[in-house]
């Protein structure tokens, strides 16, 4: 088991390295750097000024060197700029340069500085992730039970009317992307178009004080999309289990139908969808980007959009590392949970 987890962690580290290197490469393309310099400094900077701006801040060092610095395996730059000021990657504003550490990268716990938010990447990532975590929690809390219930109700009597209507519903929801369902939901429940105005079309207030009114629509928008898929998986799995021999055994033992479903079929039927639920996480993160932007909820997805829009190199890198981490941790949980649910597989 320990070996298995270790191997998963190694894969995670390797993936993070590859991904961050790609992000690093793209964000360090000169046109992107130039754009960033202009937003940071002054939009009317001439080419020369841009060059010295970048030069002074160590942006023009060779790519591997910069990547090494970010990782913390290469000493941070210390450059005496063309304007005479000495800048160093590891200098903090209130620190005497000579006391600054030589290395400052991920390995030293220094995640960098966001040029967009003018603050520490680590701080931004954690607060935004926390906000998104709240969103995801409610999404899961709504999506998983409803999807499982729909799937089980549909699958327990395959071909019945309940099955057909629930299956249609699931297909429709998976086929509708978040930006469509989000807009429709806002139009129906939050605008004057239908006069319903039950919920708010923006979730900004939910960041401090989430409640049904301001949080319901974004949660539903994401949940509804993921729900259809899980429900269909559960239905297929349930329908298969219901035809198994051991269900017949249970029936002929005199077990009542509700108990057959709950005690005999459920656990077996959940083995397949469980993996799917865990693998939904990456896709949900995807949806989070759209929904957070749409509802102006300043979470992780929103931060990603901001970082990408402003070529905020270190924030983007931070976001990438955290995303890889989230995806792989969910996979690990999914594997372990699978083993737990399915007694036929044992890890040791």
């Amino acid at each position: 088991m320990a070996l298995f987890i270790l191997r998963r962690i190694a894969i995670m580290l390797f993936t993070s390295l590859c991904l961050t290197f790609v992000v690093f490469f793209l964000t360090n393309l000169y046109p992107n750097l130039e754009k960033m310099a202009k937003t940071q400094g002054n939009f009317r900077m001439n080419d020369e000024a841009v060059l010295s701006f970048l030069e002074n801040r160590g942006y023009l060092l060779p790519l591997p060197v910069k990547y090494g610095e970010w990782l913390g395996v290469y000493p941070g730059y210390v450059i005496e700029g063309s304007d005479g000021e000495i800048r160093g990657r590891c200098f903090k504003s209130d620190q005497i340069p000579s006391e600054a550490p030589r290395y400052c990268g991920i390995l030293q716990g220094y995640w960098g500085y966001s040029t967009r938010f003018k603050s520490d990447v680590w701080g931004i990532v954690t607060t935004r992730l926390g906000l998104t975590g709240i969103l995801m929690f409610w999404v899961m809390a709504l999506m998983v039970p409803s999807a499982l219930i729909i799937g089980i109700l549909a699958g327990m009597r395959e071909g019945s009317r309940t099955d057909r209507s629930l299956s249609t519903f699931s297909i429709v929801t998976t086929a509708t992307p978040e930006y469509v369902s989000g807009v429709i939901l806002i139009a129906v429940f939050a605008s004057s178009a239908f006069g319903l105005k039950w919920f708010k079309g923006t979730a900004t207030a939910a960041m401090d004080n989430p409640n049904l009114e301001n949080f319901f629509l974004p949660v539903v928008t994401i949940a509804i999309y993921g729900m259809g898929y899980i429900a269909r998986m559960t239905r297929a799995s349930m329908a298969e289990v219901m035809t198994a021999q051991y269900i017949r055994t249970a029936r002929l033992k005199g077990v009542s139908f509700p108990n057959i479903v709950l005690k005999h079929a459920l656990r077996n039927a959940l083995i397949a969808p469980f993996t799917v639920i865990m693998l939904q996480f990456p896709w949900l993160l995807n949806g989070v980007v759209i929904v957070e932007t749409l509802f102006n909820y300043k979470g992780f997805g929103w931060a990603l959009v901001q970082a990408a829009g402003n070529n905020d190199i270190e924030l983007l890198l931070g976001v990438s590392v955290v995303s890889v981490f989230v995806v792989l941790v969910t996979q690990l949980i999914s594997d372990i949970g699978y083993v737990y649910l399915n007694p036929r597989i044992s890890v040791t």
């Binding site: 070996l3 021999q245 055994t249 002929l252 033992k253 005199g254 077990v255």
Partner: protein, 695 residues
């Protein structure tokens, strides 16, 4: 719920008809079926696959699925009509009054639920007892079904138990509420013979102990004889003969029953002096039944105008109390005529040695940890441990043993599908043991051919029968031109007694027996000198088994082939083989002529195996030997003698020799070999297992 008290018959099935409705047509699966089960009685239901046995069982359970319906007749349980009961009443009866045991134990236990939980459910539902009380009862029943260590078993998941143990759990579950009626649907088909014998024994004893009536479904007449009081023979959806075991076995009154008994190898049948009589033709599909008597087209006593005009009713046999037969000519047929058999053959003297196996070993390396493997630890599975024997021209050598004994592995090595780990296979003094099939020359490949167990997946479904045989001829480089090969193909069809018109048929248009004939034709296409038949008839229906076996024998006689016949069925082995090799866990434990192996002295394993095989003959007396426990896993074989964990003779060997040392091969009179530590005087004291009772 308490049990219904009632004095009459436990189960009365009266003119029951069940149909399945598909998009295309109505399939009448069971027609006009009647049977009565008295309290404490065991009724056997025999018939070939597809004749409707399980449908009757599910009909009794009222669990026919969405498309199955009872279209006529009544099923009364303790006097109450099951068809008129509400879902609730049925639930009270299922598991409480009527319990059912199925063929595949693994599939009928919930894989994600501990055995204990599955067991205690029954009394909790039906009697509302507390969990503690239910657990206590579960333990009691587990002891009754002779499972060791009930505490541990209750805490196990089904996959942690062996097939035999699982089947005992299923039986225990059925007995939890002490039902009045137990329906067993081929309860032992998935088990090995020695395990089957123990399970059958158990069912019989428990039936007596609890006074349970039983409906025992099987295709094996021998098993029915051992377990039941009454028998009902089914053919194509109908009961054709019912009566007590002795009436039906000894004074049968229906041509099908008679034909069935003549086609199974009973002791006394012999391939040369008293060959089996196969039932001609094939079993009709439900929608292709003839008018009048269903058995008409295959019946020797068929009479036009009498047998094919109207449906034949069940007739009571005069002078018997509960003996019925569905035949209109009962009184006209002389039931005592001896088998008017035709052909008797000279037994052929075996010729030169063609195949010599010399200390052959085959080991497999398997990763000890399958899921997260590759971490280094390997285990060796010794599938074949030093095999040595010779096979001669026109000889039939049977290889007998239960699952995992290494029979199929040996066949694979011989065919070149695997290579030997050590030792040699000498074909005409040339060692081919380590030559894989790709590296063998055409002649060697053509010389050693195989007939497989399952005819259904060895033929290419998208190629005509003729084309497949011609392909084989091409591979063996037979003939100069296509015409020549075509001629040979037609001759081969003649050889296996298929009409020449079958050359243009697709495999799916053939029945199982016909497919197996095509497989045989293909094996003999290149003039094979050695044919390995791996359970060639065990996937076929009883009534066609005899025909295929006889065909194989006939071709062998004609072509002087060496036949290696792999089987677990000792009856058929005794019938057709010249010499027998008994294997257990990769070891050859006994080798000798058929007479030597089937009469004492035996190897202790052979003795148990012989006692375990059910024989459908009322005049046979068998010694009762029940082996404890299951066959050990080949991954983890016992030390010393492979059979020591189950051997009843072990105590007659001094010291702990059996546990510590693999016994040497002892050669007795006439070249009879036994791998056992027992001294000669002990071996000589063994009594025959099978005795024909004096009339």
């Amino acid at each position: 719920m308490s049990k219904i008290s009632y004095d009459g018959p436990i189960l009365e099935i009266d003119q029951l008809s069940i149909s399945f409705f598909t998009r295309l047509r109505e399939i009448p699966a069971v027609m006009d079926f009647s049977v009565v089960v008295q309290p404490g009685e065991a009724v056997g239901l025999v018939g070939e696959s597809g004749c409707g046995k399980s449908t009757v069982a599910l009909g009794v359970m009222q669990d026919l699925g969405v498309n199955g319906h009872i279209v006529g007749g009544k099923i009364k349980f303790k006097g109450q009509d099951l068809g008129k009961m509400s879902a609730e009443q049925l639930r009270d009866i299922r598991g409480n009054e009527i319990a059912m045991i199925y063929q595949e134990p693994m599939a009928s236990l919930n894989p994600a639920m501990k055995v204990g939980k599955q067991l205690i459910e029954v009394p909790i539902i039906h009697e509302g007892v507390s969990e503690k009380e239910a657990l206590r009862r579960a333990k009691e029943v587990l002891i009754d079904v002779k499972l060791p260590d009930p505490e541990r078993i209750l805490q196990s998941y089904p996959h942690q138990l062996s097939g035999g143990q699982q089947q005992r759990i299923v039986i225990a579950m059925a007995l939890m509420s002490k039902p009045s009626l137990l329906i067993l649907d081929e309860p032992t088909t998935a088990l090995d013979v020695t395990v089957e014998a123990a399970v059958v024994d158990l069912v019989k004893d428990l039936g007596k102990k609890y006074g349970t009536s039983m409906l025992f479904i099987s295709h094996n007449l021998g098993l029915i004889l051992e377990t039941c009081d009454q028998i009902c023979v089914m053919y194509s959806g109908e009961a054709v003969e019912t009566g007590s075991i002795s009436d039906v076995f000894d004074k049968m009154q229906h041509p099908y029953t008679q034909a069935l008994f003549r086609s199974i190898p009973l002791p006394g049948a012999d391939k040369n002096s008293r060959p089996l009589v196969a039932i001609p033709g094939n079993f009709p599909l439900p929608h292709e039944r003839p008018s009048g008597c269903n058995f008409g087209p295959r019946c020797n006593y068929f009479k036009d105008g009498l047998c094919n005009t109207q449906a034949i009713p069940m007739n009571k046999i005069k002078g018997f109390e509960r003996h019925f037969s569905r035949c209109s000519r009962i009184d006209e047929i002389d039931w005592d005529t001896p088998i008017s058999n035709s052909s008797q053959f000279e037994s052929l003297p075996p010729g030169d040695v063609v195949l010599k196996i010399d200390n052959l070993k085959k080991y497999y390396e398997v990763a000890a940890n399958a899921l997260f493997g590759s971490s280094g630890t390997y285990k060796t599975v010794k599938a074949n441990e030093t095999l040595s024997f010779e096979a001669r021209e026109s000889e039939t050598l049977a290889i007998v043993g239960e699952s995992g004994c290494g029979k199929s592995t040996f066949a694979k090595v011989l065919m070149g599908l695997e290579t030997a780990t050590d030792g040699g296979i000498l074909l005409d003094n040339e060692n081919i043991g380590s030559t894989p099939i790709e590296a063998r020359d055409t002649q060697t490949v053509a010389d050693i051919q195989m007939v497989f167990q399952n005819p259904f997946d060895t033929l290419n479904p998208s190629m005509t029968v003729g084309r497949q045989i011609v392909r084989a001829l091409e591979v063996f480089k037979y003939g100069q031109s296509d015409d020549e090969r075509n001629d040979r193909m037609l001759q081969l069809l003649d050889l296996v007694k298929l009409p020449r018109a079958f050359a243009t048929r697709m495999p799916r248009q053939l029945s199982g027996g016909q497919k197996q004939r095509v497989g045989i034709a293909r094996a003999f296409a290149g003039g094979a000198r050695i044919v390995v038949a791996d359970e060639p008839v065990s996937a076929l229906d009883v009534s066609v088994q005899a025909a295929v076996t006889d065909l194989l024998m006939e071709i062998q006689r004609k072509e002087k082939t060496t036949l290696l016949f792999i089987s677990h069925d000792l009856s058929i082995v005794r019938y057709l083989s010249d010499r027998v090799m008994v294997m257990y866990l990769g070891h050859v434990v006994e080798l000798g002529t058929t007479d030597q192996v089937f009469s004492p002295p035996y190897h202790p394993y052979t003795e148990a195996l012989l006692s375990a095989v059910p024989i459908a003959d009322t005049s046979i007396e068998k010694k009762h030997i029940v082996l404890e426990g299951d066959i050990p896993s080949a991954m983890n074989p016992p030390s010393g003698c492979p059979f020591q964990t189950r051997c009843r003779w072990k105590k007659d060997v001094p010291g702990s020799l059996c546990e510590t040392e693999v016994p040497p091969i002892k050669t007795l009179d006439g070249g009879h070999q036994i791998k056992c530590h027992l001294v000669k005087s002990k071996l000589e004291k063994m009594e025959p297992v099978i005795k024909i009772a004096a009339e």
